[in-house]
Amino acid sequence: MAVLQYREALRAAMTEEMERDDRVFLMGEEVAEYNGAYKVSEGMLEQFGPKRVIDTPISENGFCGLGVGAAMNGLRPIIEFMTFNFSFVAIDQIINNAAKIRYMSGGQFDVPIVFRGANGAAGQLAATHNTSTESIYSTIPGLKVIAPSNPDDAKGLLKSAIRDNNPVIFLESEVMFGMKGEVSDAEDYLIPIGKARIAKEGTDVTIVAHSKSYHIAMRVAERLENDGYSAEVIDPRTIRPLDIDTIVESIKKTNRCVIIDESNPYASISSEITFQIQDRAFDFLDAPIKRITAKDVPAPYAKNLIEYYMPQEEDAYQACLSVMYAK
């Protein structure tokens, strides 16, 4: 096991896949000469040259469409968004073209493309630079959506995403890029898309959380452990398709569930998971499902407000106690 930063794990995944397959290339704003706005692609221009690591003008709609066309013509593009907030300028290319061309062409054209970059809140950046996009992209048939919470998953899932023959939305995080973690040394380390990870086994309550929220979940589980409660933590890792089977199996054991989700609450990932649990495991629930999300407002700038906006560890802890009727 090597200890890598999250950004280094992403870079390792891209580098390995580009070494393995000439059709893979990386394109985006500042990915080449600047070495990546967040240094994810540092050194890749030097290794692969300007044919395969390509700077773009600030033209998300244009270069995402270019990626779709290149994918239709037999290449396997990795398109980097500096952050997914800027993907909205290109959302037409993602939703109308990448996601639907296979279907509309009766399966004639594959669109093997990865759109990757930072997603979600990253501090005092105000409303336009703090959007969690997972529920927006997950609602679109034809897309797969992945949101890894740690370097090991980031590497194994990004490699799988690049090899997948479907368009994949790969959601990273500005505040996790520097996070270190052990990453498998296994040669050709692939984590299957659509498989959740049981991060901690437990018996009293199931906490479901992805991306940054996963780390809140682990802290809450530790506090509960100190109180004498055993929480099971599940990181879905892939948002679409969702590994609901693993979640349902856990709930059959714990009979209680709390979801931590950094998205705004309305029609969010937590809404969807809640529906699927009641659909599949209603009779196993001993308490209503609770969720902790961002507030139902645009992200504010002021320090105290943005902190208040985010899902709170204390709220998640209290929610767990509440569904266990422990208070």
Partner: protein
């Protein structure tokens, strides 16, 4: 090349010498005493070219006539089938613009070069070699259709002939076309990608981004605005400050040209030159001036133009024009042309029968081709 493009732009000279200004202020930050710009554009007027000059055989020209007629009769029949409610959704007819699709296909190396267009796509598909059967069945929503009944009139795809669609969102496919060109260059397969869009689409930001990207990456791409004068009911002069669309090329530092879309030979020549240029990684923005005889779609009352305007344009009909050329030059005779007409009618009628008899998709097929595998756990 009909004529070499000449440019006298100070910026152009500077940028060629220094493709990327790495450090320090680039020259253009210093404001000169005066600044002027001029660029010549290649033009391809009607009546200027003969098939011999273009290197086309008599058989090829007869084949082009047949292909244009096939598009015309196919769409006339489609309109009739729409009236009978055999075809649903939107139906946008290409009638009047057939010289563009046929002229382009004539200049392309089919199977090597690529084409992408918007939703007025029947003509391009038939010109590249899609069968009338596959086209008609697609509009009937049957499994025998080119997209197995999943796409309809606006989404004709034909991978074998490198027809990359049929796209419904105005302008959105043009960056995709530039990406197809990017693929050709990356794979070093000598292919060229041609992206067609209407004058209405020229108002979309996607066109600007696509043109800029094909310029900076020196892609084997041709962006073609089929200027049929109207975006639905909005005449071009109501929508654009600069209605000379070829002039837009100057802003992207690419080759600009304009062809008469009522003369198929003008289109062939314009495309031959643009393709040759693209193979050397010099992209073109081309305007082809044409006219749409029918409404925007089947529900268009056409109150935005006069009957006189429409009638005057019909005198320029590209099919009638080519027919006259064939007869005047004694390439063929009336009898042969009548036989072609009968043959085309028969092919189109057979396509209607094929479409009628092709089965509707199984309900279970609704889950096919969403992802590359049926193993995907769809919600129900």
């Amino acid at each position: 090349m009909a004529k070499q493009t000449k440019r006298t732009s100070t910026r152009k000279t500077a940028s060629k010498k220094k493709p990327v200004a790495k450090k320090g202020a680039p020259d253009q930050n210093v404001v000169p005493d005066s600044l002027s710009f001029s660029q010549e554009f290649d033009t391809y007027p009607a009546g200027k070219y003969t098939h011999k000059k273009l290197g086309l055989s008599e058989d090829q020209v007869i084949g082009m006539y047949r292909n244009m007629l096939l598009q015309r009769r196919f769409e006339e029949r489609a309109a009739q089938m729409y009236g009978k409610q055999k075809i649903a959704g939107f139906l946008h007819l290409y009638i009047g613009q057939e010289a563009i699709s046929t002229g382009t296909a004539t200049a392309m190396e089919i199977g090597k070069d690529s084409l992408i267009t918007a939703y007025r796509d029947h003509g391009h598909a038939l010109a590249l070699g899609m069968s009338a059967n596959e086209g008609m069945a697609e509009m009937f929503g049957k499994v025998g259709g080119c997209s197995k009944g999943k796409g309809g009139s606006m989404h004709f795809f034909d991978k074998e002939n490198r027809m990359f669609g049929g796209h419904g969102i105005v302008g959105a496919h043009v960056p995709v076309g530039v990406g197809i060109a990017f693929g050709h260059k990356y794979k070093e397969d000598d292919g060229v990608a041609i992206a067609f869009y209407g004058d209405g689409a020229a108002g979309q930001g996607a066109i600007h981004e696509a043109a800029n990207l094909m310029s900076i990456y020196d892609l084997p791409a041709i962006l073609v605005v089929e200027n049929n004068q109207y975006a639905m009911g909005t005449a071009v002069h109501r929508a654009f400050g600069q209605v000379e669309f070829s002039h837009w090329a100057a802003s992207y530092d690419v080759r600009g040209s304009v062809a008469d879309g009522m003369d198929v030979f003008s289109v062939v020549k314009a495309m031959q030159d643009a393709i040759a240029s693209a193979r050397e990684f010099k992209p073109t923005m081309m305007e082809i001036r044409t006219y749409r005889y029918r409404g925007h779609s089947m529900s268009d009352p056409q109150k935005y133009r006069t009957k006189e305007e429409l009638d005057s344009k019909k005198n320029e009909d590209p099919i009638i024009r080519l027919k006259a050329y064939l007869l005047e030059n004694k390439i063929t005779d009336e009898k042969t042309l009548d036989a072609i007409d009968d043959d085309v009618k028969e092919e189109v009628m057979a396509s209607v029968e094929f479409a009628e008899n092709s089965p509707a998709p199984d309900l279970d097929a609704i889950y096919d081709d969403v992802y590359d595998s049926r193993e995907y756990p769809f919600l129900s």
